[in-house]
Subunit: 187 residues, 2 copies
């Protein structure tokens, strides 16, 4: 078997940790691919809260989910840094995914930023249940990408090991800066 | 589910890539734990070639394998840098594992070294079959460990991406230098 690329491995990690009935978050809805994947993982009693700053993304994902008869998702046209406004105060979270960089096929000027990404993660961490997982798929080949990565890595490496496991999964011999994974699990 | 530690993940990777009947290598036999694991993966038609520089390790592993009725292993009292002397010239290899550092419970002065580790890897690479995998479990908390790691990383990052995938799997927020994984897969 071929070693899994970052995108495939992000799903492997979520499938291994998210449970049926969980409340989960798609922090970067984009075309809705991950939203649908999370929807299937949590099942009809679960809930997916999704964020995107682009109308086109929310519209396209809404159509996709409707076409597939999916009803356990809630899409918000806003940046993920606003997560605590939408996440009920006592709600535990089983998992979350971020695709960091830009929406493939859309406006490449719209990229995620270290500051808002960290605000979103900080908003979610207190809600994570035991073994709950935040998966960051980090694209960094675009202008500004390396800045975001450095902010993220500094933050992630400093997370207290008694409270979190932080995993990095990365192909290290490739010249084209393929995406890699940082995964934060609540202990 | 908890994220897998490096040791567990080394077995996950090998189980996903090594096939029944494969010829595989345990480059650091130690107590024979991985030798036995590989033996079970390849089954009675497969073959495990194992190396260790310590008589105590070879003796203890030999006893363990014999007690468990395992007959598809061949243990060599020699450093893994001699691998090409024991590996038949046209033999393809499905997988290999290195536990780099020292044998737990044994003489802590006996550690693996970057130069001999690289000689062993270079001896094996031409034999790797498509999707064949060399897994390095890297312990580096001991004196000299960081030197070996740096040599390994420089080597692994420079492997041509058209010929190999090189994956790093590491927990990045832990203060006690837990082992991490470098996995080299033939494309």
């Amino acid at each position: 078997m071929k070693l899994a690329n970052a995108l495939t491995y992000s799903h492997t990690l979520l499938a291994a940790t998210v449970e049926r009935g969980d409340y989960v978050i798609d922090a970067t809805v984009g075309n809705g691919h991950d939203t649908e994947f999370l929807s299937q993982l949590v099942g009809p009693k679960g809930h997916v809260l999704g964020f995107d700053v682009q109308v086109a993304a929310i519209n396209s994902a809404t159509t996709r989910l409707k076409d597939d008869g999916i009803t356990n998702t809630e899409l918000i046209l806003a940046g993920h840094e606003n997560v605590t406004q939408y996440l009920p105060a006592n709600q535990t979270v089983g998992g979350a995914i971020f695709n960091l960089g830009y929406l493939p096929g859309a406006d490449k000027d719209v990229i995620t930023q270290g500051e808002t990404t960290l605000a979103a993660i900080n908003g979610m961490l207190p809600h994570l249940k035991k073994n709950g997982l935040i998966v960051l798929v980090v694209y960094y080949g675009h202008p500004g990408g390396q800045d975001e990565v450095n902010q993220l890595l500094n933050f992630a490496q400093a997370l207290p090991q008694k409270a979190y496991h932080v995993l990095q999964y990365q192909f290290i011999n490739q010249v084209n800066q393929p995406p890699y994974i940082i995964a934060i699990q609540k202990r």
